[in-house]
């Protein structure tokens, strides 16, 4: 170390007159000045952290950017088999979390997922499955939770039988979400991928009705994902009339082609959630004049804003601050609904302002059809009595364990948040929990390795790696928030608008409203992604290092720091656009 390879000049003439290096400074190991050192790290991108289904969104975008659509599709399906579905109907909390919204607008992640699901089909082979475990699991209900659970159990080598009470699989995806939002051939494609892993789906089989629960005793485990499909009567009496509908029944009949009454009827939809909007837009397509009544205001509506806007474009009217009292029925024929005006009071436990009735403000609205969309309850009549449940859900511990041995539950039937991504995530969590029980794998010990970011959501791909003994480091619990980025490196761009069917064409049937983005637009979106917290080998660290101490690996897997010369100045960390580097104490 003490060897100094300096150029020694003996005479005046030997000393050059230009100040240009004549040798190297390699003898000067400036690394000895360092007390902090830069390290490469992965932080969890906010999109990944925000996805209830646990998708590796940043990874998908990276592969899509490179044009590797089938690899991107494979990566998505590692966590979620319903990619084409989610690209269309997930409410994309990933985009809400996206740091890009602070720069220009969130990446259109759902559009990328949709494109990956379309363009990734070519070259997509069925996912590999672990060798057969000899265990069989019954999945009750083929909605998003059940399908997700079945997919991941199958990947883990278990035989899976899915029981579905309807004639076709999909549950809420098939019979709750209208075809103009989710074409059924798209759903069929995702389900076909699941069946390709050997999952057996038995339709027209309502467990608890057609088939007693006791008949499932031969299975090694049971997952219940039956959703919440028990209508709650809004009015006393009158609901027997053919003019009053529960939203889910209304949507289901439409989906089956048994169209409920239409053609110019005055239709009232009561409610403010997504089912209300689905019912209202469906009623418009059946030729009805539609008004949605909601007892709070637009601000408090739980429905997605985009859905509300599209409904308005399609001619759905909205009336706010109106609480339904009763039906006006004349001679067994529906005449209308009696409402009471409300005003907003103090916030309730959900944080939304409570509707307070205004005394003496009753008014009657004439209607031919009334659709109520006030949220359905758990159908306890079909569940085994041994399960601990309330009106809304089966009580479960983490990862869907019920009180009963080897019985798990997920989706709307067990979660507070009724949405598809949560259902998919819960089905996956239960699949991993069931597998750990069946295989004896200690899932608790692997938590740091398999949970995503700051959440307790499970990554199935990480679970499989952990379970099969592939070495994996822990996933970063830290999220790469906006304030961690060096935004000087991100130029502003535009978020492309998805094409939409003209309103006249929409109302003529149930054709899909939102179209796909062009591949060029998708490419632009993938390039706009900041890859928060993930090294993209952009070379900024290498370019800025004043000591030429960032060494790029020949195999393209990243960089190493030459600690002999790194002074620990931190410029590389500062100039990393995406917080994929940090300084740490050098011991």
């Amino acid at each position: 170390m003490s060897h100094r390879e300096t150029i020694g000049y003996e005479t005046l003439d030997q000393v050059p007159d230009t100040v240009i290096s004549q040798g190297t400074m390699l003898w000067n190991r400036t690394g000895s000045w360092r007390y902090l050192k830069p390290v490469y790290r992965q932080m969890t991108p906010p999109c990944n952290n925000g996805c209830p289904a646990g998708n590796n969104i940043e990874g998908m975008i990276r592969l899509a950017e490179a044009g590797k659509y089938s690899d991107a599709l494979r990566l998505l399906k590692e966590e979620n088999p319903l990619t084409a579905v989610c690209g269309r109907v997930c409410f994309h909390p990933c985009e809400t979390a996206c740091n890009r919204k602070e720069i220009d607008a969130a990446i259109s992640i759902h559009a990328v997922e949709r494109a990956v699901s379309e363009h990734g089909r070519e070259g997509y082979a069925p996912h590999p499955v672990l060798s057969a475990s000899g265990k069989t699991v019954a999945v009750v209900g083929s909605g998003p939770a059940g399908l997700s659970c079945a997919w991941h159990l199958a990947r883990l080598g278990h035989r899976v039988v899915v029981f579905e009470k309807a004639d076709k699989p999909g549950g809420i995806l098939r019979y709750g979400i209208p075809a103009y939002r989710l074409p059924k051939d798209v759903l069929d494609r995702d389900i076909a991928d699941i069946e390709a892993l050997g999952v057996e789906i038995r339709c027209n089989t309502a467990v608890g009705k057609d088939l007693p629960w006791s008949s499932l005793e031969g299975y090694d485990a049971v997952f219940i994902g039956i959703g919440c499909h028990q209508p709650r009567p809004l009015f006393e009496g009158g609901e027997e009339t053919e003019a009053v509908w529960d939203a889910l029944r209304y949507l289901t009949l439409t989906a089956k082609g048994d169209f409920p009454a239409g053609n110019g009827k005055t239709t009232i939809v009561i409610g403010g959630g997504n089912s209300a909007i689905d019912a209202a837009r469906t009623a418009r397509r059946l030729g009805n004049a539609v008004t949605v009544y909601y007892h709070r205001t637009r601000t408090e509506m739980p429905a997605f804003g985009e859905e509300i806007l599209e409904a308005e474009k399609e001619g759905v009217a909205f009336e706010f601050l109106a609480k339904p009292l009763d039906l006006v029925i004349d001679n067994r024929k529906l005449r209308g609904v009696r409402f009471l005006k409300t005003q907003l009071g103090e916030p309730d436990e959900s944080g939304r302002r409570k509707p307070v009735p205004v005394n003496g403000s009753e008014f009657v609205v004439n209607a031919d059809i009334v659709v109520t969309a006030i949220g359905d309850a758990l159908d306890r009549s079909v569940l085994p009595e041994s399960l601990d449940c309330d009106t809304w859900k089966i009580k479960t511990a983490k990862m869907g364990a019920t009180g009963a041995d080897m019985i798990f539950a997920g989706g709307d039937a067990a979660c507070g948040d009724h949405n598809i991504a949560e259902a998919i995530g819960s089905g996956k969590a239960s699949a991993c929990a069931i597998d750990s029980k069946l295989s004896g794998f200690d899932i608790g010990a692997a938590r740091d390795v398999i949970t995503i970011g700051s959440t307790d959501r499970i990554s199935a791909s990480r679970y499989i790696m952990a379970r099969t003994g592939e070495t994996t480091g822990p996933l970063s619990k830290k999220v790469a928030d906006y304030d961690k980025l060096n935004t000087a490196y991100f130029t502003r761009g535009d978020r492309p608008e998805q094409p939409h069917l003209p309103v006249q064409e929409r109302l003529a049937g149930f054709d899909e409203v939102a179209g796909s983005l062009s591949l060029k637009a998708i490419q632009g979106e993938t390039e706009r992604c900041c890859h928060c917290g993930v090294c993209t080998a952009c070379d900024n660290c290498l370019v800025f290092c004043p000591d030429v101490s960032v060494i790029k690996r020949a195999d393209g897997t990243g960089y190493d720091i030459d600690l002999d010369y790194c002074k620990g100045c931190g410029i590389c960390v500062n100039e990393c656009p995406r917080a994929a580097m940090a300084m740490e104490e050098d011991k």
Partner: protein, 384 residues
């Protein structure tokens, strides 16, 4: 070819004829015409050079340093506050031994804001290591810029050609423009031995420890010494090629003179008239035009002034608290001569004030009539 050109455009033409490849500048009155004209030339293709716009004079000099380090003949121009902002980079250009040529149009520094002639701006850069030359008319502007590249590239020192704001920069005079072929014959292409070459990576301008710094700086000072000969030689060659010879200084009627007036830049011209008038009246008066300020031509000055008894120096500048800068430099050049002449120092024309033949005659008469100079400089042309 003769053209009537303002001094600034004479500089632009010289840059074009010198086949400069890179120009970077930031505009400042009274210099702006120079680079405006050059940007037009770059734009219309009559000059094959890159014109780099920058956000400050500091960056202008920095980018010219970079271009020259990469082996490209380059040019910039500035004035007053702009030159002051370049200060750090001026050291860099000289220390790096880069033969950059720049024009500084001499302008007063603020406050009070003043855009007129004053040598205070470039003289404040005296110790940056640049060769400095002060020129008298538009023809000399053009000729000196071309010679500057010749000088700079032989001794690897940057050269600053200085001339008075408005009196030259904006004043039109007939200028003889040599042909490109003639200039090409005089000034060979720039072919540096060492330059920033990706094929031969080296660290440029790195740390130099105490064990070598002094030697490197000695080389810089030696280059200035060598430049004295090179400037003389270049001026002589230029005379052979174009019929207009130049030297380190111009000595007129100094051989027999009892009193010699020392001037620089445009004040030289009225001083020539005063000298003629005094000679007609029987006074043996000479004139020494200081064309070169750095390197300081000690020998040439001693040769010109050694035989006379009085020297009268007119400075359009002032080192505050000391006086005229040329006068001061002259004194140190003369001090060890036997029978060193007395040096009378006058300050005149600051901030663009006119220095007329009457003013100069007044200074000459005072010098002739006074036995001993005062300790400091005498300010002339002031309100009473």
């Amino acid at each position: 070819m003769k053209k009537v050109l303002m001094g600034n455009h004479a500089a632009s033409w010289a840059v074009q004829l010198s086949r400069v490849k890179m120009i970077s500048a930031y505009p400042i009155t009274p210099q702006t015409h120079i680079v405006e004209e050059l940007s037009e030339m770059c734009g219309d293709g009559s000059l094959d050079a890159k014109f780099l716009k920058v956000e400050s004079e500091h960056s202008a000099m920095a980018s010219v340093v970079a271009a020259q380090a990469a082996g490209v003949r380059s040019f910039t121009a500035s004035s007053a506050n702009g030159l002051a902002l370049m200060h750090e980079m001026l050291h860099w250009a000289a220390g790096a031994r880069l033969p950059i040529v720049m024009v500084n149009v001499n302008r007063a520094l603020a406050p009070g804001w003043n855009i007129w002639a004053d040598q205070g701006d470039s003289l404040a850069q005296r110790d940056t290591g640049w060769i400095q030359m002060y020129v008298e008319d538009n023809q000399e502007v053009l000729d000196s810029v071309i010679q500057a590249y010749m000088i700079a590239e032989q001794v690897r020192l940057p050269v600053m050609i200085c001339y008075d704001a408005f009196f030259l920069s904006h004043t039109y005079e007939p200028v003889d423009i040599p042909s490109q072929d003639a200039v090409d014959d005089f000034l060979p292409p720039y072919t540096p031995e060492v330059f920033l070459d990706p094929e031969s990576p080296r660290s440029f301008y790195p740390l130099v420890m105490p064990d070598n710094y002094m030697e490197i700086r000695y080389h810089l000072d030696q280059a200035h010494t060598r430049a004295l000969d090179v400037i003389e030689e270049t001026g002589r060659h230029f005379g052979e090629a174009f019929g207009r010879p130049y030297g380190l200084v111009e000595a007129v009627n100094c051989d027999d003179a009892d009193m010699i007036m020392v001037t620089s830049s445009t004040i030289t011209s009225p001083a020539r008239l005063v000298m003629d008038e005094l000679r007609e009246n029987g006074h043996r008066v000479g004139l020494l035009k200081m064309r070169t300020f750095r390197p300081f031509p000690v020998k040439a000055v001693q040769d010109a002034l050694g035989g006379c008894s009085k020297v009268m120096v007119i400075d359009r500048n002032c080192s505050w608290g000391k006086g005229g800068i040329f006068a001061d430099e002259l004194k140190s050049a003369l001090v060890n001569l036997p029978d060193s002449p007395k040096v009378f120092s006058y300050i005149a024309g600051l901030g663009g004030r006119s220095v007329t033949p009457d003013h100069i005659m007044d200074m000459a008469r005072q010098t002739l009539d006074t036995e001993m100079p005062s300790d400091g400089s005498v300010w002339k042309g002031m309100k009473q």
